[in-house]
């Protein structure tokens, strides 16, 4: 009988489920065979069930549009992505190590600056960083943890090695989809999850809650936690509501909070004002407090920075953490790990050329057609150049921009990004994926079991962002018993 896999073509990239000879990898053996036992129609039934569940559960992300149709169903691919637990445990330790070093770096940057004084990072990089906030100088959040919630993007290159592509230390999103993806998979492939030893992912909210409790101001007995959202029109509103619900926190908007003369933060409740001790804020630094940052911010809370600096409220992530969420600073993370932790980095960086360095800039300009060029501190996948996929005009356009603002750009080799079988019109095709695990650091550290696998649904595309035609997959960390 013809196999589902006969028509599957493994490309040059590393495939998560099939080896280069189109044989199932050990960890994916069971899943490969199971999928093979289903025909196209049966797969389609599962897909329809998943789509229906997404509609009914109301898992959405928001797209700004003229018609005011603000909620879109979450694009989900039912074929899971599998990583063996033994491999994952190594990655998880590497991620914790990374976030610890990053937090040491942020703390150092706003205090002693020994990293700079010892000449390990040029001072101008910090001085010119738009995410460095003068207001934070001298602050020391509890446990030295500034970035309490981090979403790091991992990719696998051709040989299967995991690289860290970037560390999102400002307001990383996606964790709710990681959890909901599993809920859907349980509906779609219940029999598979029963047969395989897949690590659960729904312990994230408990760990998030404990982390937030641990960073509360020291004198508070039973801290009150709030999740601060920009509001119902924000693209991640679903996630803000989901997390608030999961950890039993209040979901607040700027107008719900007020800072009083005593430099404490209160929320407006039916009982009058009630004190808030910990805020998991999902608003960017610049909008946090119109008293200090953007005056026109309608999203923030006037006086919030005062309250934070007085130690009356803890903010996660701490303002100013973004100084380490910068693709130029990123290149120094391996150094940070050696310097602050006295350890060797477990996870490698992607080789990165800094346009701020004249020699490296020359190399970048000469190889624009093979490199990926990214702004040093933007997120969301906008404003980047994927050299091999770009037109000549686009390349020339970028050449001008880079020359004008070299500090704002970095370049990396175009990685092959691993592929994973993905359901496309009733059959499986390889599509490029990445992985965003979430790391927490307060009193202790935590890493999700896997993370959110994002998939570029267009053939050959390397752009996985949901705002640009990406979807997601459930991620299975499995014990193979080997």
């Amino acid at each position: 009988m013809a196999s589902l896999w006969d028509h599957y073509t493994v490309t040059n990239a590393y495939d998560e489920m099939r080896s280069s000879g189109n044989k199932a990898r050990a960890s994916s053996h069971h899943l490969s065979n199971y999928l093979d036992s289903l025909d196209g129609a049966a797969l389609d039934v599962r897909k329809t069930a998943a789509d229906l569940a997404i509609m009914e559960m109301g898992i959405t992300f928001t797209v700004y549009s003229d018609e005011g149709n603000i909620d879109r169903a979450w694009p989900f691919d039912i074929i899971p992505r599998i990583i063996e637990n033994k491999e994952w445990q190594r990655v998880a330790v590497g991620l914790k190590q990374r976030l610890k070093a990053l937090n040491c770096f942020i703390n150092d940057t706003y205090n002693e600056q020994s990293f700079i004084k010892e000449g390990l990072i040029p001072e101008y990089i910090i001085a010119s960083s738009t995410n460095f906030l003068q207001e934070c100088v001298g602050m020391k959040p509890r446990f030295g943890a500034w970035a309490n919630i981090c979403g790091s993007d991992l990719v696998r290159d051709k040989d299967g090695t995991f690289y860290v592509l970037e560390d999102n230390l400002r307001v990383p999103s996606g964790v709710s989809y990681m959890i909901e993806n599993r809920v859907i998979t349980k509906k779609v492939f219940p029999e598979l999850l029963q047969d395989l030893d897949v690590l659960p992912v729904d312990d994230y909210p408990v760990n998030l809650f404990e982390m937030l409790m641990s960073i509360a101001p020291e004198h508070v007995d039973t801290p009150r936690i709030a999740v601060l959202t920009p509001g119902i029109f924000n693209s991640a509103y679903f996630e803000h509501a989901f997390l608030a619900q999961q950890i039993g926190a209040e979901l607040v908007e700027g107008a719900d909070l007020v800072v009083q003369e005593d430099n404490c933060v209160y929320m407006r409740t039916i009982n009058g004002l009630e004190k808030v001790d910990v805020i998991y804020r999902r608003i960017d630094d610049q909008f946090l407090d119109p008293e200090v940052f953007r005056k026109d911010s309608m999203l923030g809370v006037k006086g919030l920075m005062r309250a934070w600096k007085a130690g009356n409220v803890s903010l996660a992530n701490a303002p100013g953490s973004g100084v380490a969420d910068d693709k130029v600073v990123y290149t120094y993370v391996p150094e940070m790990i050696r310097y602050y932790l006295n350890e060797e980095p477990i996870l490698p960086n992607v080789p990165t050329y800094m346009c701020s360095d004249p020699e490296q800039l020359d190399y970048v300009l000469a190889h624009l057609d093979e490199l990926v060029v990214k702004p040093a501190n933007e997120s969301g996948g906008y404003g980047m150049l994927v050299g091999p996929h770009a037109s000549q005009e686009e390349v020339e356009e970028f050449r001008k921009i880079i020359k004008a603002h070299p500090r704002n750009y970095i370049a990396q080799p175009t990685l092959a990004l691993s592929t994973c079988p993905t359901l496309c019109n009733n059959h499986l095709e390889p599509r490029h994926i990445d992985l965003r695990p979430f790391i927490l650091q307060g009193e202790s550290s935590f890493v999700t079991a896997g993370g959110l696998t994002r998939v570029a649904l267009k053939r050959g595309s390397l752009v996985v962002n949901s705002s640009q035609g990406g979807g997601s997959k459930d991620t299975w960390i499995i014990n193979t018993g080997m």
Binding site: E56, G58, F242, L251, V252, E253, A255, I270, N271
Partner: protein, 317 residues
């Protein structure tokens, strides 16, 4: 509990109750129309009168026939008072209250919304319409039932119940306004013959037929039905009962001193009115007065517990 959350829950309940009552009213009116002989003048226009939507209707449609009236009141989202508009608004309020509601509550409302959206086209024929209305009524009741068994009976649920009881009182007065239209002095003898059928349908629209029979032990007549639906202390959709519930929920919320005075007055004046001697014009005035009093209570609730519009952040509350 956040003021913002309280407000959303309150509106969620009001919109959902409005959705349910609109479904009840449309479904009963359809039944009534089917019962009437062809020569009894009863028009679809009356429905628009009950909803106070004649002007809004005429801006969008010309003839108030069955097709247009039903579309306007049921599926047309350009009409903010249509059933679908109420359901959308309810869904939007619960979508933005998910952090304080059990997941299933959101899913139930969302499913109802998806069902309505999918079946919009079948609403053009009577059969399809009956199915939609039944499903909506069932959905609303499932939701109410689910909440009472799955949500702590705390302030959050009290705001939901508060919104529901106010909306319910308001909707009952609107349904009774049908009487001031149907009992108009100039009605024909033919219409008079079918009056009992009309009153029976009014009772049905409020699920009150059996309870009326049990408690009044009277044949159905307009004065008794009106009296029952306005003054009965125990029937859940009677105006008096709804006011009593509203008072009870208000009293259990924080900072509620003096907030029920308005409702106490309302009950007193309602009880002092002799329904058996009331003219259709007086009835209409009474119902209007009740609606106005309920609006006063709504404003008091909003200014006591909800977030003031454009609340200035520098101002301490």
């Amino acid at each position: 509990m956040l003021s913002r959350s309280a407000e959303r829950l309150y509106w969620l309940a009001r919109y959902l109750e409005r959705t349910e009552n609109t479904a009840r009213l449309l479904s009963v009116y359809m039944n009534l129309m089917f019962d009437m002989p062809m020569d009894v003048q009863l028009s679809w226009r009356n429905l628009l009168t009950i909803f106070g939507a004649e002007n809004a209707f005429l801006k969008l449609y010309d003839v108030p026939n069955e097709q247009n009236t039903m579309q306007f009141l049921l599926t047309d989202t350009a009409n903010l008072g249509s059933l679908f508009s109420s359901l959308n608004a309810a869904r939007e309020n619960i979508r933005t209250s998910r952090e304080i509601m059990p997941d299933e509550a959101w899913q139930q409302v969302n499913e109802m919304y998806l069902f309505a959206k999918e079946n919009v086209d079948s609403a053009t024929n009577r059969r399809g319409r009956v199915l939609i209305l039944n499903e909506i009524m069932r959905g609303c009741q499932r939701f109410t039932g689910f909440l009472s068994g799955a949500m702590s009976h705390d302030d959050a649920l009290r705001f939901i119940r508060l919104g529901r009881s106010i909306e319910r009182a308001d909707m009952t007065t609107r349904i009774l306004d049908i009487a001031s239209v149907l009992l108009a002095e100039d009605r024909t003898d033919k219409t008079r013959q079918y009056e009992n059928a009309m009153w029976m349908n009014v009772l049905k629209s409020l699920s009150a037929l059996l309870m009326y029979r049990k408690h009044r032990r009277h044949r159905i007549n307009s004065a008794d039905v009106l009296d029952f639906l306005l003054k009965d202390p125990d029937f859940p959709r009677s105006v008096r009962h709804c006011i009593k519930e509203t008072e009870a929920y208000i009293n259990r919320l924080p900072r509620s001193e003096g907030l029920t005075d308005n409702l106490t007055e309302l009950t007193a004046s309602l009880m002092a009115t002799d329904i058996h001697r009331i003219t259709p014009v007086q009835l209409h005035e009474l119902l209007d007065a009740i609606q106005a009093k309920l609006a006063v209570t709504h404003n008091q609730i909003a200014s006591t517990w909800f977030l003031a519009p454009n609340q200035d952040q520098s101002q301490s509350a």
